[in-house]
C-alpha cells in the first residue's frame, strides 16, 4: 500500500498522545525535594487514605540532592512529574490500577494501543485543575475510587468534535452539551455489503440552533445534528475480508454530519434510518456528550466485523458513559449485531421505543427516515409522463444519458419545457433527478480517483515528475498537490483528552494560491502531461468530472426557471 493511497483513505482524526508507561523496574531514583514540597499543596484536598499512601511512597523517595531539571519546571508540572514518578514505581495496591480502570482504558483508548499509565492519569487528576474537562471518563472513575469534594473545575461550555464532511474534509465543531436537546440511537437498516449486512448503529446528537431550544426547532435543525459512530478505518481501496475477520483494521469513534449520514444511507444506498430517542435527563446528556468526546479524541482500537464492530464498541461506550445502560438488566447481553442491540434498547426502558410504533408518525417527528428510493421513482415517473419521448425507463437509465443530451432533450421538448416552467412540483421532480446524478457521479469520481492516485503514487514519483517540469509548473505541483497530499497522509493521531482550542492541531487546508484559476490550469497541465499506463484513467476521470459539471449546469438552469 503506497503512501498516497493511504493518504486518500486515511481519516483526518488528528492529535497525538504518547502514553506513559508504568515503570516497574526495581531501582527507584530519588524525587525532587522542591517538587515534593509543592505537591503537598495539591494533596490537601485529597482523601486522607490516598494522601497517606502517596506521602508514604514519596518520603521514602526523597533524595540527598535536588534534580536540577525538575527545579526549572513550572509548579504544577513539577508536582505532577514528582507524583507521576512516585506512582509509577509504587507497589501499593491503593495506588495501582484495578480491573475497573483496565476496563475503562480499553473503552477510552482501545486495547491495541499501549495502555496509558494509570500513574500518569492519577497524577493528572490530582494536580491538573482541568483534568475533569480533558479526561472526564477517568476523572469520574477517580472520583468514585477516591471520593473528594473539591477537585472538579467548571469546564468550558463548548466541547469540540472533529466532524467529517465528505465534501470539505474535517472541521472542528464546538457543541455546548446544553444545546443537545436529546440523544438518539441511530440504526441504518442492513445492506448487501459485508460491512453492513446487519445494519449500522451510531448515536445522534440533536443539537439545537444557537439561542433557540424550542423542541420543534431543535428537531428540525438537521443540518447541525451530529452523529457519533464506531467505524472501521479501511486503509486500502477494497475491503480485505481476511483482515476484516482478523481485526486488522483500526476502529475510531468518528463524528459526522447527520445529513451526510442520511445522504449516504437513505439516498446513496436506499436504506432506512431509525432514530430512537434515549431516556436521558439533562445531566446525563451532558455527561454523555463530554465522555463521548473524550473517546472521540482518544480511542483507537481494533475493528473486527464480527466481534468488535460498531455494535459491540457502542455498547462498551454506552456502558461507561451512561450508568443507567450499564445497570439495565434488559441490555446485559453482549450484542454482536447492530440490529440486535438496537432491538434490545428499543424494547427496554432506556429508550422511547413507542416513538417507532407508527412509522408515518415517526417520519413526521424525525424518528424515522425512509429510504428515498420510492421518491426518486415517483419523480422519475412524473418526469417521464411529462416528456414527449423520454429516453430512459429507470433511474440507472437516466444516469446513463449524457447530461448535455438530457438538457437538449428538455429544450427540444417545448411542451415539457413549458410545463417545467409553470409546474413547480414537476420542476422539483426534475431537479431531484439531476441532483441524484450529481450525488452518484460524485461518488464514482471519488472511487475512480482513488484508484488513479494509488497507481500514480505522486509522493513516490515526485522527483521524476518534478524533473520534467519548468519552474512555474513545479512550484504549483509542490504547493498544490504534494503538500496537501502530505498533510492528509499524516497518520491518524490521538490526543490525550478533549482538547482546548490551542491544543487542536491545524486542519489540513489548501494554500490560497492553489485556488486561483491559473494555478489550477498549471496543475491540470502538469498531470495531463504525465504519459504512462495510467494516462487513460486520467482521461476517464476528466470525463467523469465533466459529467458531474454538466449535471451541475443542468441544475443551475432548472433553478433559473
Amino acid at each position: 500500500m503506497n503512501r498516497f493511497a493511504v493518504a486518500l483513505i486515511a481519516t483526518l482524526v488528528v492529535g497525538c498522545a504518547s502514553p506513559g508507561k508504568q515503570n516497574v523496574v526495581g531501582r527507584t531514583p530519588p524525587i525532587s525535594i522542591r517538587g515534593w514540597h509543592e505537591l503537598q499543596g495539591y494533596l490537601q484536598g485529597v482523601p486522607s487514605q490516598l494522601r497517606q499512601a502517596i506521602v508514604q511512597e514519596g518520603e521514602a523517595r526523597l533524595p540527598r540532592t535536588v534534580n536540577a531539571a525538575i527545579q526549572d519546571a513550572v509548579e504544577s508540572e513539577v508536582s505532577q512529574a514528582v507524583l507521576f514518578d512516585i506512582l509509577q514505581h509504587t507497589h501499593n495496591q491503593a495506588l495501582l490500577p484495578d480491573a475497573e480502570f483496565e476496563r475503562l482504558a480499553s473503552v477510552v483508548i482501545g486495547k491495541s494501543q499501549e495502555q496509558q499509565s494509570f500513574a500518569a492519569a492519577l497524577a493528572g487528576y490530582l494536580t491538573q485543575s482541568d483534568f475533569g474537562c480533558q479526561q472526564p471518563v477517568y476523572a469520574r472513575y477517580f472520583q468514585r475510587r477516591y471520593p473528594s469534594a473539591n477537585l472538579a473545575k467548571p469546564c468550558s461550555a463548548d466541547v469540540p468534535f472533529e466532524v467529517l464532511n465528505q465534501y470539505e474534509g474535517a472541521k472542528i465543531v464546538w457543541i455546548n452539551p446544553k444545546r443537545v436537546k436529546s440523544i438518539h440511537l441511530l440504526f441504518a437498516s442492513k445492506s448487501q455489503s459485508m460491512a453492513s449486512r446487519f445494519g449500522h448503529i451510531a448515536l445522534r446528537l440533536v443539537v439545537c440552533p444557537e439561542g433557540n431550544t424550542a423542541a420543534e426547532v431543535c428537531d428540525a435543525n438537521l443540518l447541525e445534528h451530529v452523529t457519533l459512530g464506531f467505524q472501521a478505518h479501511i486503509d486500502e481501496l477494497s475491503l480485505n475480508t481476511i483482515k476484516a475477520l482478523n481485526g486488522e483494521y483500526k476502529a475510531y469513534l468518528f463524528a459526522s454530519r447527520f445529513m451526510d449520514m442520511y445522504e449516504q444511507y437513505a439516498i446513496g444506498e436506499f436504506r432506512e434510518v431509525y432514530s430512537l430517542p434515549l431516556r436521558l435527563d439533562e445531566t446525563q446528556r451532558e455527561l454523555m456528550v463530554r465522555e463521548l468526546a473524550d473517546i472521540h479524541w482518544r480511542y483507537a482500537g481494533e475493528y473486527s466485523f464480527f466481534t468488535r464492530n460498531c455494535a459491540t464498541l457502542m455498547q462498551n461506550a454506552l456502558k461507561i458513559s451512561w450508568p443507567d445502560f450499564a445497570a439495565n438488566e434488559k441490555v446485559r447481553g453482549n450484542y454482536l449485531r447492530p440490529d440486535s442491540l438496537f432491538e434490545a434498547i428499543k424494547f427496554s426502558s432506556l429508550a422511547e421505543g413507542d416513538k417507532l410504533a407508527s412509522l408515518d408518525d415517526a417520519e413526521r417527528e424525525g424518528y424515522y427516515f425512509s429510504s428515498t428510493r420510492q421518491f426518486y421513482e415517483n419523480a422519475l415517473n412524473e418526469v417521464r409522463e411529462g416528456m414527449g419521448k423520454p429516453a430512459f425507463a429507470d433511474l440507472e437509465g437516466y444516469l446513463q444519458i449524457n447530461p448535455i443530451m438530457r438538457r437538449q432533450a428538455r429544450a427540444d421538448d417545448e411542451q415539457f419545457s413549458t410545463r417545467l416552467a409553470a409546474d413547480r412540483h414537476l420542476r422539483e421532480a426534475q431537479l431531484m433527478l439531476e441532483e441524484y446524478s450529481i450525488l452518484r457521479s460524485g461518488r464514482v469520481l471519488m472511487i475512480e480517483a482513488a484508484k488513479y492516485f494509488e497507481r500514480q503514487d505522486f509522493l513516490e514519483n515526485s522527483d521524476n515528475i518534478r524533473a520534467q517540469l519548468d519552474g512555474e509548473h513545479a512550484d504549483v505541483f509542490e504547493k498544490c498537490l504534494l503538500t496537501p497530499i502530505r498533510q492528509h497522509a499524516r497518520p491518524i493521531q490521538r490526543l490525550k483528552g478533549i482538547p482546548v482550542k490551542s491544543d487542536i492541531p491545524e486542519m489540513p487546508g489548501q494554500a490560497s494560491i492553489c485556488k486561483s484559476i491559473q494555478s489550477r490550469k498549471l496543475l491540470h497541465e502538469t498531470i495531463s502531461g504525465i504519459k504512462n499506463a495510467d494516462s487513460e484513467q486520467w482521461r476517464k476521470l476528466i470525463e467523469l468530472s465533466e459529467y458531474l459539471a454538466e449535471s451541475i449546469a443542468n441544475l443551475k438552469l432548472l433553478k433559473q426557471m
Partner: protein, 303 residues
C-alpha cells in the same frame, strides 16, 4: 372578312344612338360570363353586353362575386361620339369583398382584445391602412405598442428559461424600449447573460460532438456497476475532501458550493415525496433562517 363584318355590325348597332351624341361599348368576358358590368357606376348588364356610353371619359367596371370573394376589372375609356368600342375583360385574381374585409377586421379586433399577439399586429396595420376598420393612426399606434408589450413578455419568459436568442432579443428591447420600459442596465444584464449562454451553448455543442464520437462508455459502465464498489468507500471516511479531488481533475470553471448542492440534494426527495416529514420541516426551517436565499425547496415543502 371577319373584321369587316364586326365593324359593320357595330355601325348598325350604333345607328340608333347617333342622335344622342353617344356611342356603344361591347364588353366581352371570356372566362367570366355573367359578371356585372357598370359604366360610370351604373349597372348596365351582365357580361357579355353591348352598352351605350356617353361621349367623353367613362369608367368601366366589371365585377364577379362568389362568397366572400370578388374579381374586378376597372378601366377608364375615351368614348368618341358615334364610334363604338370593344373591350376584352380579364378579371383580377379573387380578393375579399369589402364586407368580408370588415367582418375579418372585426374578428381580428376581437382576437387582439383577447390577447392574441398576431391579431394585435394585424389590427394595428388595419387601422394604419384603414382596411376593414376606419383609418386611425392613434389606434394603430395603440395596438402596435400593445402587441410589442405582449411579445416582450413572451420573449422574457423564454429568456428566463434559458433561450439564448430571446436573451439577445430582450437586450435589444431594453436598449430601444420596444415593448418594455427602456433600461440600460437591464439591456446590459441580458446582453451579458446572452453572451455567456451563447458561449456555454457553443462549448456544450462542442462537447456533445466529442461525446457523440465516444459516448462516454466508461461513465455508462460506472453507473451499471455502482453498488458493491461504492460500499467500501462509504463505510470508511475519505480523507481527501471531494472538493480537492474535483478541483484537481476538472478544468477551472465557475466554482460550485458542493456542500450547498449536497444539502439541497439530500433534503429534496423527502420534502418532495413526503411534505409532512421531518426532512421537509428542516427545509422550511432552513429557509426561515435565511429568508434571502432562493430556495425552491420551500415551495415543495409548503405544497
Amino acid at each position: 372578312m371577319k373584321k369587316i363584318i364586326y365593324v359593320v355590325g357595330l355601325a348598325v348597332l350604333a345607328a340608333p344612338f347617333a342622335a344622342y351624341s353617344d356611342s356603344l361599348i361591347r364588353v366581352k368576358c371570356d372566362d367570366d360570363a355573367g359578371a356585372s358590368v357598370y359604366i360610370n357606376g351604373k349597372f348596365v348588364g351582365e357580361c357579355p353586353v353591348d352598352a351605350p356610353a356617353p361621349a367623353g371619359t367613362v369608367n368601366l367596371r366589371v365585377r364577379s362575386e362568389k362568397g366572400d370573394y370578388e374579381k374586378v376589372f376597372e378601366k377608364q375609356l375615351r368614348v368618341v361620339d358615334g364610334v363604338p368600342q370593344r373591350v376584352e375583360v380579364t378579371l383580377s385574381a379573387p380578393q375579399l369583398t369589402a364586407k368580408a374585409i370588415a367582418a375579418d377586421a372585426g374578428r381580428q379586433l376581437k382576437a387582439a382584445e383577447a390577447g392574441n399577439i398576431e391579431a394585435m399586429q394585424k389590427v394595428s396595420q388595419l387601422y394604419e391602412d384603414g382596411i376593414g376598420l376606419e383609418k386611425s393612426p392613434v389606434k394603430a399606434k395603440h395596438w402596435r405598442e400593445k402587441a410589442e408589450t405582449a411579445k416582450a413578455k413572451k420573449i422574457l419568459e423564454l429568456a428566463n428559461r434559458g433561450d439564448v436568442a430571446s436573451m439577445e432579443d430582450m437586450s435589444n428591447r431594453y436598449e430601444t424600449g420596444l415593448g418594455v420600459a427602456k433600461s440600460a442596465s437591464l439591456a446590459k444584464s441580458w446582453g451579458t447573460k446572452a453572451q455567456s449562454a451563447r458561449q456555454e451553448q457553443k462549448s456544450s455543442e462542442k462537447k456533445a460532438k466529442l461525446w457523440a464520437k465516444a459516448p462516454f462508455s466508461e461513465t455508462r459502465q460506472y453507473f451499471h456497476n455502482m453498488g458493491k464498489d461504492v460500499q467500501f468507500v462509504t463505510s470508511s471516511p475519505i480523507s481527501l475532501p471531494f472538493t480537492f479531488v474535483f478541483d484537481l481533475i476538472s478544468l477551472p470553471t465557475a466554482s460550485t458550493n458542493m456542500v450547498q448542492v449536497a444539502n439541497e440534494a439530500a433534503l429534496r426527495p423527502s420534502t418532495w415525496g413526503n411534505p409532512d416529514s421531518m426532512i421537509a420541516r428542516a427545509s422550511l426551517q432552513l429557509k426561515a433562517n435565511d429568508p434571502a436565499a432562493e430556495n425552491p425547496l420551500i415551495v415543495a415543502a409548503i405544497k
